[in-house]
């Protein structure tokens, strides 16, 4: 049986020896999902904003790539364009939310999520509507086609590595600190010269761009796209993934995506009931370890003594922002 331990693979990047085409496919899907989830983690975990539209951004990336590739553009260009498109839409979407308080960004993204889905579905001339777009070819690299699953897996792994490094760099830079400041206390941050509007937009747009980039890889991975995976429900699942993995923890999205993508594998014996089990697991997880799997790991590995959020929360409302 295929019991995948994702940790074995991230480190060395070698597809599991027993993996067949499907295994490689699933691993690739996991990476793609993790890229999008990293974006959500930046928005939700670090900057403390809320997004219910990541799937829509994945969709934007997927459609941009599909259309460009079908029109004969090289994949590299389509990939960049997908990121840029998602970034730009992210900025436009962030603007109205700046006028108001925190939760409203979530509401705006929720509305956007549904609107984007409607556009994907209704504008058949462009997006193929409910029939979707098929036959999206995989890129070629130096004249070498990545049609084979394993080749494409390596390609995606390389991109994931680059994107992971980039995000890690952003988060450990002063920008990352500013993002955290948005989460913790935007008013105080503003008074310390942190341009809250700009950083809010940046966090949201960068996170969304990661969604777009993930979408750009998703389209050639599946070789077919239609509006369904870009609806509101999947956006919620991205949030869920990130929090289950551990919001605000760097490895969180990878773990969360692994759970979301690979858990159905592990629960295969349960057939139709796997969603039930998944839901129960998530709820139990939240109840006993709201900091997610990475939070749990930190707690269990005593090496790093860093009080968790729960332990340091002031008992009285003293520091309530």
């Amino acid at each position: 049986m295929l019991v995948l331990a994702p940790i074995d693979l991230t480190g060395i990047g070698i597809p599991y020896p027993g993996l067949k085409r499907y295994g490689t496919y699933i691993m690739t899907l996991w990476l793609v999902t993790a890229i999008a989830a990293m974006g959500v983690n930046l928005i939700v975990g670090y900057a403390g904003l809320e997004t219910l539209a990541q799937a829509a951004f994945v969709g934007i990336g997927a459609y941009v790539t599909a259309l460009m590739v079908k029109a004969g553009w090289p994949f590299g260009l389509a990939f960049l364009a997908s990121g840029v498109a998602a970034f730009a839409v992210g900025i436009m979407l962030g603007f109205p939310a700046l006028r108001v308080r925190k939760h409203y960004l979530a509401f705006v993204t929720l509305a956007f999520s549904v609107l984007a889905w409607l556009v994907f579905r209704n504008e058949q001339w462009l997006t193929g509507g409910v029939m979707g777009i098929g036959d999206i070819s995989r890129p070629t690299l130096f004249g070498h086609t990545l049609r084979r699953h394993v080749d494409f897996y390596w390609f995606v792994l390389a991109i994931t590595a680059v994107l992971t490094f980039a995000l890690w760099w952003i988060i450990r830079s002063p920008w990352g600190r500013a993002f955290t400041a948005l989460r913790e206390n935007p008013i105080r941050a503003e008074s310390l010269g942190v341009d809250v509007r700009l950083y809010t937009l940046l966090a949201f747009a960068i996170g969304s761009a990661y969604g777009g980039l993930a979408g750009s890889l998703y389209a050639p991975l599946v070789e077919f796209i239609d509006p369904n995976p870009f609806a509101l429900g999947p956006s919620l699942l991205f949030m869920l993934m990130v929090v289950v993995g551990g919001a605000g923890r760097f490895a969180g999205p990878f773990v969360g995506a692994a759970v979301a993508v690979l858990l159905p594998e592990w629960l295969r014996f349960a057939e139709g009931f796997y969603l039930l089990i998944y839901a129960v697991l998530v709820m139990t997880m939240m109840a006993f370890c709201p900091t997610g799997i990475m939070g749990l790991a930190e707690r269990l590995l005593p090496a790093r003594r860093r009080p968790t959020a729960a332990a340091t929360a002031p008992l009285l409302g003293e520091a309530k922002p």
Binding site: P96, V100, N122, F288, P290
Partner: protein
């Protein structure tokens, strides 16, 4: 003109459904500062309690309704509070929100696997009569929903604002630690919140299932509509739910008739964004003031 009236009336009737579902959002927001993403499923589920009572146990409808309400209080009230909310109330909003997302999956899949994936007809509390007033057709069930929605919201508004228990519930939401210091039975207040929400959900379920049909996936669209209604009306005001609900119902119908059927869902959402931009506290909401 008759068409317009028909659209308006139908929209109001559907809007009352949304309002009933939206009350739960505002109630939970006001009393536990949580967004319950399972609210749609909360309204979907009780009808199935009644169906189980009727088809599996062979009980008459009236008894089944009572059973549905009691079961809802146990499952959506007591169990939800003890199993989901209690461990999470101190952990901030995000884990709780995530838990409700998972819960919505659980309820939906549970009903599908345990009962059926098929839509089920559901008996109505009101006789199946269609009234025709000035060329406009209205069914009695719709009127019933409208009246009940209004009544409930008025009662709830009064309860939260004008009774001590109601205010203790609000206090618990706004600052549970201080509420505890002052001796507010915080646990009990949270429980009340969820019991009330459960009863409301059960009522909504029983009222709307004859129109909507009982189906495991009903919560999806209902939840979204209710959510939008709650924001439009004003998240922190129970009476906002009714205005928001009715407005969304009407706007949705008018949009389908006069804008585009394939973009009808978009119009309430655009309204939502407009509201957020120009009146973020919602139509009836009050401004939350003083940030510094």
């Amino acid at each position: 003109m008759a068409d317009f009236l028909q659209l308006l009336i139908s929209g109001l009737a559907t809007g009352a459904i949304y309002a009933l579902a939206a009350i739960g959002f505002t109630l939970l927001w006001q009393t536990s500062q949580t967004i319950n993403f399972a609210q749609g499923e909360f309204v979907m589920l009780p009808a199935f309690f009644a169906l189980v009572a009727m088809t599996w146990l062979g009980l008459p409808f009236a008894v089944a309704v009572v059973i549905a309400i009691v079961c809802s209080m146990l499952v959506l009230g007591l169990m939800f509070k003890v199993v989901v909310v209690q461990p999470l109330i101190k952990q901030g909003v995000l884990p709780l929100v995530i838990s409700t997302i998972a819960l919505s999956v659980l309820l939906k899949e549970g009903v599908k696997d345990v009962y059926s994936a098929e839509a089920q007809p559901f008996p109505t509390l009101f006789p199946d009569v269609t009234l025709s007033v000035a060329g406009v057709a209205v069914s009695l069930a719709q009127v019933g929903v409208l009246v009940v929605a209004f009544g409930t919201i008025v009662a709830l508004q009064w309860f939260l604002g004008a009774t001590r228990i109601g205010r203790q519930m609000q206090a618990t939401a706004q600052n549970p630690t201080v509420a505890r210091i002052l001796g507010v039975p915080v646990e009990r207040m949270i429980l009340y919140t969820f019991l009330i929400n459960a009863v409301l959900a059960a009522m909504a379920s029983i009222l709307i299932s004859p129109i909507y049909l009982a189906k495991f996936s009903n919560g999806e669209s209902l939840g979204l509509a209710a959510f939008v209604a709650a924001i439009v009306g004003g998240f922190n005001q129970v009476r906002g739910a009714i205005v928001g609900g009715l407005l969304i119902g009407v706007v949705d119908n008018l949009a389908a008739a006069y804008v585009s059927t394939s973009y009808r869902q978009a119009v309430p959402l655009i309204l939502l964004v407009a509201i957020i931009l120009f009146r973020p506290q919602g139509l009836l909401g009050r401004r939350e003031e003083r940030a510094v």
